[in-house]
């Protein structure tokens, strides 16, 4: 048990701090998931990180990463939070697709896709869910039929985050209609500019268009774009989802910490009943719970990265992280509303940040696997209880 930094970790941190001092963007652009100004802002930040060799701290050097350890990845996340850095762009590419390509991709695929993920040149989306395949992903129906050197894809995906801006898609389709449902799927890497793809944005309850429907009509995908093996797409999807659960949380700490700091700032300034809100003992209890929940999230993340450093493979225990951060963010969004009182509902107060956070967090326990699915995974794959379905 030693959470102190080794000499090389200290060197990494000090260099990173110095780098952040000169490279952090001076001007802050406010959050809004679909806004192009915000998107450009994040894209520029990603480019800067890439040029500074910080875009993929724990990724292999030959594909644009830094080749550092997962502990340095953890230090990186904490330093970004301390420096109040912008959030990361392209979480699907960096958190989910990239690590999966590193694990099961061909050399050619690694060379083709990985550097562009890190530099922010290519944004990815993830074509998994369908209208009739949500939590029960293995029942998906979108077909990929082999014709010569291509797979011809027909069908529909839904809830596809970033499809409206994505350059590439990691798409899971059914390629063997006769096999058992977990066995006949294949994972394809699809250029979103290909003919045969129609993207239709769906509005979230927050008013943003962060996710989409995707329709495929005779989309042709070259067979060399199969990720992993044909008809073994289920395992590839599980690898991707395990990475998603392990990685998504690490970047979110920065976002959550910034939200809490902003709430505290308001609690100091806003007055209610003749005194600053932060002096209200009930509010203090709630804010302290927000603080400690977030602190436990940080520690859980560091611990799981420390574990990943030894095993190299994210396991089903990532579901604990997903469950934890999604429920934490909902609780903390609620506490923020209570601190702000009637101001919380104004869409022009802080550019609507608190309305947005509250509404957006509602989706957290549904996206990337519902809380119920996460609990099933924990019960069945970590605790060894029998399957319930």
């Amino acid at each position: 048990m030693d959470l102190g930094l080794t000499p090389s970790e200290t060197k990494f941190r000090d260099e990173l701090r110095a780098w952040l001092k000169t490279n952090l963007p001076a001007k802050k652009v406010k959050t809004a998931e679909s806004g192009t100004e915000y998107f450009d802002y994040l894209k520029n930040w990603q480019r800067k990180l890439f040029e500074g060799n910080y875009a993929g701290v724990s990724w292999p050097k030959e594909f644009g990463g830094r080749g550092a350890s997962f502990m340095e990845q953890a230090i990186f996340q904490e330093e970004l939070a301390l420096a109040d850095a912008p959030e990361r762009m392209g979480t699907i590419g960096q958190g989910l697709v990239g690590p999966t390509i590193i694990t099961v991709g061909t050399e050619e695929q690694k060379k083709r896709y990985l550097p562009a993920i890190l530099s922010g040149e290519e944004v990815w989306c993830q074509g998994f869910s369908e209208p009739n395949a949500g939590s029960d992903l293995a029942s998906l129906e979108t077909k990929g039929i082999r014709e010569g050197d291509d797979f011809v894809v027909n069908g529909q995906k839904i809830w596809t985050s970033y499809a409206h801006i994505a350059d590439q898609c990691m798409l899971v389709v059914r390629t063997d209609m006769t096999a058992a449902k977990h066995k006949g799927m294949t994972c394809l890497l699809v250029d979103m500019k290909s003919p045969g793809i129609t993207v239709r944005p769906l509005k979230m309850m927050s008013g943003d268009s962060g996710f989409n429907e995707m329709f495929f009509s005779n989309l042709r995908v070259p067979a060399k774009n199969v990720l992993g093996k044909v008809n073994e797409g289920w395992n590839v999807a599980i690898t991707a989802l395990s990475n998603e659960r392990a990685n998504l949380g690490t970047g979110l700490y920065v976002v959550f910490k910034r939200n809490l700091d902003a709430v505290l700032e308001h609690a100091r300034k806003l007055r209610r009943n003749g005194k600053p809100v932060i002096e209200d003992p009930v509010i203090r209890q709630k804010l302290a719970q927000s603080y400690l929940d977030l602190e436990v999230f940080r520690l859980n993340t560091t611990r799981s990265l420390s574990n990943l450093n030894k095993t190299g493979v994210p396991g089903p225990e990532g579901s604990i992280q997903k469950l934890y951060w999604s429920e934490l963010n909902q609780r903390n969004a609620q506490v923020a509303m209570e601190v702000l009182g009637p101001y919380a509902q104004l869409t022009n107060f802080d550019d609507g940040r608190w309305v947005y956070n509250y509404l957006r967090s509602r989706g957290n326990t549904i996206e990337a696997g519902t809380s119920e699915v996460q609990r099933n995974i924990i019960a069945q794959r970590v605790l060894g209880l029998p399957r319930s379905y």
Partner: protein, 370 residues
């Protein structure tokens, strides 16, 4: 940076687990609980012989010279076994004396287990902040004279040495004395957790010699704060061990108990309770072992880390205990099932050194005013 037990710490964990599995069965715990003091000489010397009473204290005072993480490892295994006896009182007293005046003759017998200890801190007002200490120590002949009552004193009935936290004109005083000192009366107060007993300690004009004054004023307050952090950590780790036992027991039961022709662990309502128990237990583990590390390595963040760990694990431990009983159904609610031992110990530990509400208030002061 490594967020995991080191090799030697893993060995320590294993030897503690093996020792308690062998010598501290639930059957034995139940027999001891039924007695006035819940004490067993061999169970006590087994721990003392390992040096665990001073595991985190310097070798110069009879300790093992290891750290707070090692103390947490042992305390966790004690929680897993519902270890009865005066471990907490003795470790708290030893830590307090080591911090306040390591030359005191009372220290070494405690770290070696030759003597048992207790800290008389809470008063009938029962607030965990030091400002609540009102029992007066009046200067007398180089030492002090003490009159008043201390309550909720862990392990006092077994103690050979009592450290009393009292108020003087110059701030707090830490006064050590043999429990048999004339004017000291120790009375058991029956309570929920029978594996670790609580007592009232009355001081009726007790004379404390100059030699037995460990520290007065700022130095006393600093020593007290640090010793409470160490004892709070040990209490949190004890809860973690209890959570570990309860989740293992509930999952095992869910895998074997059948209803509707299936094991109940195949029902999602039961699975989800078990999943929540794991999240609560593992998150407590992260918070507690970070706090243990911070106590030694990062004193500036120790107070926050300890309050985070105690607040989180107090709520978590109660929730894990509730779900464990719920998974068991009727049998979990009986005297016969060992869950009741853990259910009660978990509740007592939640109260000990302040519950989540107390520590959230502490955190608010530490974090928001900064």
């Amino acid at each position: 940076m490594e967020f995991d037990l080191s090799k030697p710490q893993q060995l320590l964990q294993k030897s503690a687990r093996d020792l308690f599995a062998r010598d501290c069965s639930a059957k034995r715990v139940r027999e001891l609980m039924a007695t006035d003091t819940a004490f067993h000489p061999e169970l006590w010397s087994a721990v003392a012989d390992q040096g665990w009473l001073g595991i985190h204290l310097d070798e110069s005072v009879g300790g093992l010279g290891l750290g707070a993480v090692d103390l947490a490892v042992v305390a966790e295994e004690m929680g897993r076994a519902c270890y009865p006896g005066p471990f907490l009182g003795t470790v708290w007293a030893a830590t307090l004396i080591a911090e306040a005046n390591s030359k005191s003759k009372h220290l070494e017998p405690l770290t070696t287990g030759a003597a048992k200890g207790a800290v008389a801190y809470l008063e009938p007002d029962a607030g965990w902040c030091p400002e609540n200490v009102q029992l007066k120590a009046t200067a007398a002949g180089g030492g002090f004279k003490l009159s008043g009552r201390k309550s909720f004193v862990s392990d006092a009935g077994l103690a050979d040495v009592i450290v009393c936290v009292a108020r003087t004109g110059d701030g707090l005083a830490l006064l050590a004395m043999p429990a048999k000192t004339s004017g000291v009366t120790i009375t058991r107060t029956p309570a929920l957790d029978q594996s670790r007993k609580l007592y009232d300690v009355d001081f009726a004009g007790v004379t404390v010699a100059a030699d037995d004054v460990l520290s007065v004023g700022q130095a006393a307050e600093t020593a007290l704060a640090r010793s409470i952090q160490v004892a709070t950590l040990a209490t949190s780790a004890d809860m973690l061990g209890g959570m570990q036992w309860m989740i293992a027991d509930a999952v095992e039961y869910a895998k074997t108990r059948q209803q509707f022709g299936k094991v109940i662990g195949s029902f999602q309502a039961v699975q989800h309770m078990c999943a929540d128990m794991l999240l609560l237990t593992e998150s407590s583990r992260s918070a507690i072992y970070f706090a243990a590390w911070a106590l030694d390595a990062e004193p500036a963040s120790a107070a926050r880390a300890i309050s985070t760990a105690k607040a989180y694990s107090s709520d978590a431990s109660r929730e894990v205990a509730n779900r464990a009983v719920q998974v068991h159904g009727g049998i979990g609610f009986t005297w016969e099932h060992d869950l009741q031992l853990y259910y009660k110990r978990s509740k007592a530990s939640e109260i000990l050194f302040g519950d989540a509400t107390y520590h959230r208030a502490q955190l608010a002061d530490l974090v928001f005013s900064a």
